[in-house]
């Protein structure tokens, strides 16, 4: 039963990644593309954190409860894996940086061309290039 729930969670996350990939590639609106990209990043991070989880009871966060050698024994037996969490913090920060940059680019595109639809944008870009020649 636990293995079943575990695989349902993993498969759900993979399905979410597929849906967000569809959103990135097939939606014409740039803002919707950005939203899909955010969902993609967050789901990937959740998947990585899930790999560090331990399916035991009780499970503890990776913080020493008290500063004694006896506490360390039970701590190592119950705590979750800290490495994926540390990596995910790095990934979250970099994902946020990328999002800020993309959001600024989209705002600037909207100010310059008045649209965020890729189809209309390509038409306008062709017009601009034609005007310069």
């Amino acid at each position: 039963m636990i293995a079943f729930i575990w695989s349902v969670i993993i498969l759900t996350l993979i399905a979410t990644i597929m849906i967000s990939l569809y959103g990135i590639s097939r939606r014409p609106n740039l803002v919707k593309k950005l939203i899909a990209l955010t969902i993609f990043g967050d789901t990937a991070n959740l998947l990585v954190v899930l790999l560090g989880y331990r399916l035991i009871y009780p499970v503890a966060p990776p913080i020493l409860p008290s500063l004694s050698k006896e506490a360390l024994q039970t701590f190592v037996k119950t705590a979750v894996d800290p490495l994926p969490q540390a990596l995910v913090i790095t990934a979250v920060v970099i994902g946020m940086a990328v999002n800020v940059l993309i959001a600024f680019a989209i705002v600037q595109i909207h100010r310059l061309y008045g649209t965020v639809d890729t189809r209309e944008l390509s038409k306008k870009l062709i017009q601009v290039e034609g005007g310069e020649q």
Partner: protein, 247 residues
């Protein structure tokens, strides 16, 4: 109704595959060897980082150089955004002047904003300064801190914030102070024969120099976001006039 069909198919596929898979995979019950090494060594072992919070220990000590470059990526992104919206001195002055009467929100929202800003400042400082004891740390605290100027921009206006002395230049100066602080503390262990970004037991009961990393990162992230928000808050009308794009 039309949307329900693909959703049903996806759910059926997930449960079917999970039923097939469940006999074959083992749920994660043990930590990997590297994770166990970090858990055992973070405070007591031979390779101690002197921090009871294992994630922070990995972040600022074991894999400190990772974090250093992550911070630099983040600030390169902010610099990139500032470059996209670059204004020269005259244009910046123009953007700072009120063009017309700015419409502000109602009394209720303004009063609530005041109280919430005071609470958010306290909460974000708590998140940042306890990064070596509880989940959280510099980046999380800084993100929470950046909510305060964002709320003020939304409820009053960008001009109110600039009138009180927090404009883009000051925010960038604060950010630079934070970055320089991180760099100095990262180089400090080299003078004592350690490796770069090693945790120093300056104040042993505070988890060493972790608290300084967290504090400077808090300052840098909060101020960097504030600069970004101040740029985003320039009204579109003003910006179009500056860029020379037609109405």
């Amino acid at each position: 109704m039309k949307k329900l069909i693909p959703i049903t198919i996806i759910i059926l596929i997930i449960f079917g595959l999970a039923y097939v898979m469940s006999g074959k995979i083992e749920p994660q019950e043990n930590v990997r060897a590297l994770g166990k090494f970090y858990l055992e060594n973070s405070y007591f072992g031979d390779y101690s980082a002197k921090s009871p919070e294992v994630v922070t220990a990995i972040l600022w000590d074991y894999r400190g150089v990772d974090t250093l470059f992550e911070t630099s990526v983040f600030f390169l992104a902010i610099i990139g955004s500032l470059t996209l919206f670059r204004l020269n001195k005259k244009q910046e002055k123009e953007a700072k002047e009120r063009i017309e009467k700015v419409e502000e929100l109602t009394l209720v929202i303004k009063t609530v904003t005041k109280v919430i800003v005071a609470m958010i400042l306290a909460v974000s400082a708590s998140i940042a300064l306890h990064g070596h004891l509880t989940p959280g740390g510099g980046f999380q605290g800084g993100s929470a801190l950046a909510v305060a100027p964002l709320l003020i921009i939304a409820a009053y206006s960008k001009y109110a914030l600039e009138k009180q002395g927090l404009d883009k230049t000051r925010a960038l100066i604060l950010r630079s102070i934070g970055l320089i602080g991180i760099a100095l503390i990262a180089l400090l262990p080299l003078t004592k024969g350690g490796f770069i970004m090693q945790n120093q037991p300056i104040f042993p009961w505070l988890g060493g120099s972790l608290i300084f990393y967290n504090f400077f990162e808090y300052l840098a992230v909060g101020a960097g976001f504030t600069a970004v928000f101040l740029l985003l808050a320039i009204p579109e009308k003003v910006f179009k006039k500056i860029l020379g794009v037609g109405e």
